[in-house]
Symmetry: C2
Subunit: 150 residues, 2 copies
DNA sequence: TAAAATTAGTTAGCATAGCTAACTACATTT
DNA sequence: AAATGTAGTTAGCTATGCTAACTAATTTTA
């Protein structure tokens, strides 16, 4: 790890940056899992629900693509969410398809869970200096875009 | 989402930054799961193995703490790793405990998997400008430290 | 020092979540 | 009309999370 070409404190070597980001992401999600347990919903259901809440209604197949799981897996995740009253099915023109939509309860529960997650992280960011937060804020947006483009 | 006080393109509002980092982490790990499947080892086993490879031998309880799972869960993860010949158990003074250590095979497999993960991310970073990578490199280190302190 | 309490790890049993293969039902193409 | 393709489900496997209850070893205490 770390070849340290190190002309500066940081580096622009993609592998070295990737390594740090990778490490950060692992540790972040490891911690956030804890706040998620408070929601009483499993991680896959929570994640699928978040797509419906933040991006609107989707068919099962679209949801499976978005979550990068196979249709049978999404079929079961959706069954669980429906059983818990967090989402609803709507018939469509094409009778093979169905539109899935978050219910009011589902939306509320998701937003509370998301708040818990984000608040935990935000609290840690408060220990940084104003300048550091400024830099991190500038770059967080860029980072999110790069990663979504993977 | 996004109250957008927005005095600048970025912000120093911890909640807003946290929100973006959260989003980035989710999308990153969602993608990296794909490269991990090539290793033929489950995510929990891979993660536990990485602790043994990068931080040295640990008892089962220490490993459970590090991975934030309960002892019975780690007990089974360890059983799987041992069955696949990726780790080894060593007796200790206290006969209730056992030290777990990665085998040569385990170390090799883990490092290859890690390389696949990191390379995939590094490839995406190559689409950034030199300046952007420089900024990201400067901040990645800070980010990793903050998150580990959660 | 014998008994009680604590600690480390396992076993059993449950739920969720990932997969492939095989199926049903509907839609489209030929 | 028949063949092909597409959307989603069912069945059955493995892995991963939990709690409760257990065994064995160690430490504390009466």
């Amino acid at each position: 790890m770390s070849k340290s070409k190190g002309r500066f404190r940081g580096t622009s070597d993609p592998v070295e940056i990737a390594d740090r980001l990778h490490s950060a992401a692992i540790h972040l999600l490891r911690r956030l899992r804890i706040s998620d347990r408070a929601s009483g919903i499993g991680p896959a259901q929570l994640s699928a629900l978040s797509v419906l809440v933040f991006s609107g209604p989707r068919t099962l197949g679209e949801l499976a693509d978005a979550e990068q799981v196979r249709p049978p897996t999404m079929s079961r995740i959706v069954a669980g969410l429906e059983r818990s009253g967090l989402i609803r099915r709507h018939a469509t023109e094409d009778k093979r398809r169905m539109l899935l939509e978050a219910t009011a309860t589902g939306t509320k529960i998701l937003q509370e869970g998301r708040k818990r997650r984000v608040d935990a992280l935000a609290q840690a960011l408060r220990s940084l200096s104003e300048l550091e937060r400024q830099q991190l804020g500038d770059i967080a947006d860029l980072l999110d875009r790069v990663i979504r483009s993977l």
